[in-house]
Symmetry: C2
Subunit: 154 residues, 2 copies
Amino acid sequence: MSLSDNTHMQMALAEARKAFQRDEVPVGAALVDWRTDEVIAFAGNRPKELSDPTAHAEMLVIQEACRKKGLARLPDCDLYVTLEPCPMCAAAISFARIRRLYFGAHDEKGGGVENGPRIFSSSSCHHQPEIYGGIGAAESGELLKRFFLEKRMG
Amino acid sequence: MSLSDNTHMQMALAEARKAFQRDEVPVGAALVDWRTDEVIAFAGNRPKELSDPTAHAEMLVIQEACRKKGLARLPDCDLYVTLEPCPMCAAAISFARIRRLYFGAHDEKGGGVENGPRIFSSSSCHHQPEIYGGIGAAESGELLKRFFLEKRMG
């Protein structure tokens, strides 16, 4: 975990906090060109705002980076996301050929990387990124816990 | 398989043929409101055209239908798609709460429903549609075979 890795995860966490303020499940992501350290795209969850169940933070940054680069594959990019990606996002990360996946809290219920269908270990997965889990997990987990607690208490 | 089911799959096949002409992997989809039999959205694959690895036919129709309805969930909709959905699309189908999934050819290599990570059987899957596979499979399989044969022959 380098200093810049920490900076990138802090940027993803800032997006997660902004998602919380929009009443979205607080997850944030940043996509970084590892050759230049440039942040290509950053986003928080927006399914409620966009009425789009696929508008997870990871999908939004992949789509934006591809649009910016005019490419459907991003082998020069690393993804930082505050929560273990779900199966949909994990498969998209594989399709996009992202080099490294850094994620925060593990997601036993909805995760698809080290939980559930473990997308990258599946026979139908053609690209597995290097995976670094648990980065900034405490801050991310605390944010998620507070969000769902507030939801339950109405 | 009712007459209208067949009509809807034929519409998805027409989209697959149009995708072939655009040099995209020939997969097509149609999303139908099962209460009214109205086709809400139809699309073929567009990852190459849009430089977007997530632009599978299923994702495009789900996103369009959600946009039209202003809802992130589509329990009133059935999805017709010419190929077994990949893990990304299967997870999106689950998030969108689609009632029924009709698909054409099975996809041993890239499928995520009855192959690979079998998304709907996973512990992290919160909604499983009713699934009807193999509908219009011969025509869909033939189209895909021809596409990849032409690719190999350059």
